[in-house]
């Protein structure tokens, strides 16, 4: 499907890989004008090429979500070019695994700044436009670990729980015209799941995940993209402030 002039304009952070890329591909395939950013140039280019080769419309940016000025500048470009922003999928994330005892302040700050402050930066910038439009939908990538925690990832868990709380505050502050929901993915087969793990560690982590999961398999990024699509769409027009977990049954509350 080719984007029409009045196509929905959807901003996706972390669009260079994993769930962000899968969501960009899905929504562009449905006709959205997608605007993707990432901090890795080769990744954002690869996603853009995939979208263009199937006839989709894509606008890209190289943005460090931690840098408020970069975020505001890129969002201003998006608005100047397309005149509106209908949807935001705030998804950019990194990982830096460590026990708390050995965790450096840099590892702590990297996670908090990227996930939490990065999402704040994007939401603030995009919400100014959405408020003016009196319309919009946002999905934020939290995690199952926001609810249950996990060892060796205190920085990740703290960041993801902060995002769950941020979601609920935004949902209340910007209702009724703008909806804000979070997703809590379980273990999804993405580059981030491999980050900070040797191939052997990854294989052993995968086996542990699969053994514990009721569905006995990792999720695919496309399965998360389908959930993001649902929450951003009119099909979810009465859903706000909620956490929806495509997690293979890892956590059931």
């Amino acid at each position: 499907m080719v984007a029409s002039d009045n196509a929905r304009v959807t901003v996706i952070t972390g669009g260079g890989s994993g769930m962000g890329r899968a969501t960009a591909l899905r929504l562009a395939g449905q006709g959205d004008q997608v605007c993707i950013c990432d901090f890795k140039e080769e990744n954002v280019r690869a996603t853009a090429e995939q979208i263009q080769s199937s006839g989709g419309k894509v606008f890209t940016g190289l943005v460090d979500v931690r840098d408020q000025k970069q975020v505001h500048t890129w969002i201003a470009q998006v608005i100047a070019k397309f005149g509106k922003i209908d949807c935001l999928f705030s998804n950019a994330g990194v990982n830096a695994r460590s026990t708390v005892a050995n965790m450096t302040l840099a590892q702590w700050n990297l996670l908090i700044d990227t996930h939490v402050t990065g999402t704040f930066n994007f939401c603030q910038s995009v919400l100014r436009q959405m408020v003016a439009q009196q319309r919009g939908a946002i999905v934020i990538t939290s995690s199952d670990f926001a609810i249950v925690g996990v060892p060796n990832a205190a920085n990740y868990c703290a960041a993801k729980t902060a995002l769950y709380s941020l979601t609920k505050s935004l949902a209340q502050e910007f209702a009724p015209h703008i909806r804000v929901n979070a997703i809590g993915p379980g273990p999804i087969d993405t580059p981030l799941l491999r980050a900070g793990r040797t191939p052997e560690e990854y294989e052993s982590a995968r086996k542990v995940f699969e053994g514990k999961l009721p569905m006995h398999r990792l999720g695919q990024p496309e399965e998360v993209a389908a959930v993001v699509d649902f929450l951003l769409s009119e099909r979810a027009s009465f859903i706000t402030g909620q956490l929806l977990q495509p997690n293979g049954g890892q956590v059931m509350w």
Binding site: Q30, S237, F238, G241, G249, M252, W253
Partner: protein, 241 residues
């Protein structure tokens, strides 16, 4: 939105399918090409649905009807449990009979229908089950101790079935609405009360049956292929946990 005709020729059983929410889901599934069986105490006015009159709390009737549907169609793909009763009563006026009646229809009825459907779904290694709980399961409420208890029980039932059925490619989830504009609450609350609830809903409106049908269609579809054991809260933001 899901691209394929994935609901075409699916066999769907909807309890409470003559009511507001169940009726809307039945209509959506029928439009999408599924064969729809409605189980209810009240007849359905839609002639395209196959109607089975029964009380979901009657074990023998439930077993007989599901067995007949499974044998007749050769399969049961979807079960949507909506059959329920809502009879608010102050706690000290709640008779044991009131209590048991609500538990029997709202909770035991779900158990019986799930058990009967799973006898067909397990061997076929495919199934999608969506049950309606309620935000009252979390929040409780004045005059609804029996109703809230029954809806809370559904969450425990759902999670257990989700774990137990996942390996057989059967996904089980619930939907929790807040008060929805249907004949069921309308029968016991005033329009004034219904309108007053808007003030407690950040999205500023009362949910309707299409909101619930949208959620059910999502949970029945492959769009939710990695979603099991979850409670989809379609409540306009009225409760955020």
């Amino acid at each position: 939105m899901s691209q394929s005709n994935e609901h075409q020729d699916r066999v769907a059983v909807i309890t409470g399918g003559s009511g507001g929410i169940g009726g809307a889901i039945a209509a959506r599934l029928h439009e999408a090409g599924a064969t729809v069986h409605v189980l209810d105490t009240k007849p359905s006015s839609v002639k395209e649905f196959t109607f089975h009159q029964l009380d979901v709390a009657n074990e023998a009737d439930v077993d007989r009807v599901f067995d007949a549907i499974g044998k007749g169609a050769g399969k049961i793909d979807y079960l949507v449990c909506c059959a329920g009763i809502y009879r608010p009563r102050p706690f000290l006026e709640l008779s044991l009979e009131d209590w048991q009646q609500t538990l029997q229809v709202n909770l035991t009825g779900y158990f019986l229908c799930c058990r009967a459907a799973l006898r067909t779904m397990r061997p076929q290694k495919f199934g999608r089950i969506v049950m309606f709980s309620s935000m009252a399961a979390r929040t409780g409420g004045k005059n609804v101790a029996h109703y809230a208890a029954s809806k809370g029980g559904i969450l425990g039932l759902m999670r257990s079935l989700a774990v137990e059925s996942a390996a057989d490619n059967i996904r089980v989830n619930t939907i929790s609405p807040v008060i929805t504009d249907t004949p069921m609450p309308r029968a016991v609350v005033s329009d004034e009360y219904m309108q007053s609830r808007k003030a407690h809903i950040p999205l500023g409106r009362i949910g309707d049956v299409e909101d619930m049908a949208n959620g059910a269609m999502f949970l029945l579809s492959d769009d939710s292929s990695y979603v099991i054991g979850q409670d989809l809260r379609i409540n306009g933001g009225s409760t955020l946990w």
